[in-house]
């Protein structure tokens, strides 16, 4: 008998694990049915056959079939996917690029969908710039290899500035215009030019949905409704929280309560990231941590327990007057560093640091 990949978990629903009326179940058992698969096989998907074979009424047979078909999936291995399936899915995953090639390489393409990527760093290092850049570049049209998406920007600090986003959008539009001109393939160029008309800088700003949250309750409320908000706008590809740390660092007296709320919030974000297949980018601040020897060093804020929350953590810092991003935590990427620059047009590579084309 040949098995399709992933078959093994479908045959394993015992009859007892299906939500059936006891009378129906015992009739099925008397007819020698043991599992959900037996039900499907005997019936050949026809309730009347099942009713005849197992001495059920037609209604009971209908219920049993429904349970075997749908409820079965809702039982033991609900939503279980084989790793093979996930590998295919991971290959099809997209990322929102940062526009800094070195950093994109270090991140395996950018901020990946289905993950939480955290950016942390000291004030002025460019966390918000990076977040805004991501919201703009998520809208790069498909004709240019982008996502043609929209972004949700949850702003807790009030640091989102439309002028700055406009700068970045204009720079992006200009860059895309140049790309279109340089393109040699006739068809592709026509497509790009058509796409260019839809991505005027103003249109890009319209594609950023801003939530301004003044306190932690508002933030939690926004996240609670975010799932529905995104479901209504299927073009959303990116959710930015800038920053997670702001309210949590000042609004709480009770640290245990803070930890609880933070981890609930993270679970919520994670489920948004995986169920809606969007990239979630959170911004975190840094704090000074005294060391045993009396010195101090900068560590990401919100403490040790929160450190486990993100999938990928990127630490932004200064190194000899240059901005450097370190990928310090990721289940799939090696640790890496990349230099980046904040320019008038947004986040870019450091001039001269581009690697030679392979």
């Amino acid at each position: 008998m040949d098995h399709a990949p992933g078959d093994w978990f479908q045959d394993s629903y015992a009859l007892t694990s299906l939500a059936l009326a006891p009378s129906t179940r015992s009739k099925l058992q008397r007819a020698g049915v043991h599992s959900a698969r037996d039900v499907l096989r005997i019936s050949g998907n026809s309730p009347s056959t099942l009713a005849r074979e197992c001495a059920l009424t037609l209604d009971e047979a209908n219920d049993a079939l429904k349970a075997a078909r749908f409820n079965g999936e809702g039982i033991a291995l609900r939503g279980a996917r084989s790793a093979a399936e996930l590998l295919r899915e991971e290959r099809a995953r997209w990322s929102v690029f940062t526009f800094c090639e070195a950093l994109d390489d270090a991140l395996g393409g950018g901020a990946a969908s289905g993950e939480i990527t955290e950016l942390c760093g000291c004030p002025g290092i460019g966390k918000t710039q990076m977040a805004m850049q991501l919201s703009v570049s998520a809208q790069t049209p498909r004709a240019f290899g982008g996502l043609g998406g929209e972004a949700v920007y949850v702003d807790t600090e009030g640091s989102f500035t439309a002028e700055r986003a406009m700068d970045m959008a204009e720079a992006l539009a200009e860059h895309l215009g140049r790309c279109a001109k340089r393109c040699e393939d006739e068809d592709a160029r026509r497509e790009m030019e058509a796409a260019l008309e839809t991505c005027a800088p103003e249109a890009m700003l319209r594609g950023i949905h801003l939530f301004r949250c003044h306190e932690v309750t508002e933030l939690l409320a926004a996240l609670e409704t975010l799932g529905e908000f995104i479901a209504e706008r299927p073009k959303v590809r990116l959710v930015v929280i800038d920053s997670v740390a702001f309210h949590f660092r000042q609004d709480f007296q009770d640290m245990a309560l803070r930890t609880t709320i933070l981890s609930k919030m993270t679970n919520r974000l994670m489920s948004i990231a995986t169920t809606q297949q969007v990239a979630v980018v959170t911004v975190n601040q840094v704090t000074v941590k005294p060391q045993r020897d009396g010195s101090a060093r900068l560590v990401p804020a919100l403490g040790e327990s929160y450190a486990h929350a993100c999938t990928t953590r990127v630490i932004l810092s200064w190194e000899n007057d240059e901005r450097v991003a370190f990928v310090t935590k990721s289940p799939r990427l090696p640790q890496a560093r990349a230099r980046y620059a904040v320019t008038a047009g947004g986040i870019r590579d450091v001039r001269g640091s581009k690697r030679a084309a392979p």
Binding site: P5, G6, W8, F9, S12, Y13, A14, T16, S17, H34, S35, I75, A76, L77, R78, G79, A80, R81, S82, A83, A84, L86, L87, E89, E90, R91, G114, E115, I116, A256, L257, T259, T260, S263, K264, T266, N267, R268, M270, S271, A273, T274, R292, G303, E304, S305, A307, H308, A309, T311, R313, T328, K329, P331, R332, P334
Partner: protein
């Protein structure tokens, strides 16, 4: 009916209960025989296997604790890849989005020699990946449902010789689901935690599966005594959880070296080991 009849009935019932319960009692040699049937399977990391005396033992609960980026998820992925590569079914409960099939693929490649034939590796990889079932779980109640159903599934599954049995259950991370419930204000969280503990231990025994889960660390506060590792971190699930696993492994980064260290902090102990996370494997220091 007289008093005598009622008394006889009572005795009959007691006798029946006695027969039923005592049939389940086993003696020491039975226990030993059953133990010898259990296998010890490798985690895919030589250093950790050495630490555990060969690998993960079926029927046991192994906890991995450690700060972020210390390699907890990597060890889970490695064990999953290793078990599946040896024809065991793996149920992987992912609560933090850390599961990466790409990484499984890399680790799987590491099990083969450099010059292994590509087609052979690919075919085996396909089989391996199909044996790993991944659940995304974002709250504790769906975890409880899953655990109880994995237990129920046992009866039908284990008697089927055609099917690979569940060899490993991974929960990464368990503490991410449980710690939000553990507040001083409510006792319910502790009740749920105790239920999870009982179910995990029960499941490991009845399914004869190894169970591996992670427990992240939290700061133990400024004034608490630092441990011998010079950090003031403690596992998130707290002292009440300490006795749940058969063994608790603590992972930590050795600063500035790229090496990590692993030691057993609860259960049968062994000498700490060092390991390193490579591009397609997790390996210990080469023996001199």
């Amino acid at each position: 009916m007289g008093r005598g009849g009622a008394e006889a009935r009572r005795r009959a019932i007691v006798e029946e209960i006695y027969n039923e319960t005592c049939a389940n009692a086993v003696n020491g040699s039975d226990v030993e025989r059953q133990l010898s049937l259990l296998e010890i399977l490798p985690t895919g990391c030589d250093a950790i296997d050495e630490l555990l005396g060969g690998g993960l033992r079926q029927g046991q609960l192994i906890e991995i604790t450690g700060p972020s980026a210390s390699g907890k998820t990597q060890l889970c992925l490695s064990a999953a890849a290793s078990f599946a590569a040896l024809d065991n079914r793996v149920v992987y409960v992912d609560t933090t989005g850390g599961f990466s099939a790409t990484r499984i693929k890399q680790l799987h490649r590491g099990f083969f020699a450099e010059d292994a034939e590509k087609a052979v590796v690919e075919e085996h990889l396909d089989k391996t990946l199909n044996l790993i079932a991944v659940h995304k779980c974002h709250d504790v109640f769906s975890l409880l449902t899953l655990l109880s159903q994995l237990g129920e599934e046992a009866s039908e599954d284990d008697n089927n010789p055609e099917r690979a049995t569940m060899g490993l259950l991974v929960i990464d991370s368990l503490s991410a689901l449980l710690s939000p419930l553990l507040t001083k204000a409510h006792h319910q969280g502790y009740t749920i935690m105790a239920t999870v503990a009982a179910m995990l231990r029960g499941l490991a025994t009845t399914r004869k599966t190894a169970a591996l889960y992670t427990n992240h660390t939290v700061s133990a506060g400024q004034d608490s005594l630092a441990d011998d590792h010079g950090s003031n971190l403690k596992p998130a699930l707290g002292t009440r959880w300490t006795a749940v696993p058969h063994r608790r492994i603590r992972l930590s980064k050795i600063p500035g070296t790229g090496w990590h260290s692993a030691s057993i902090v609860y259960g049968v102990s062994a000498k700490p080991v060092k390991y390193r996370i490579g591009s397609n494997n997790i390996h210990g220091a080469p023996t001199q």
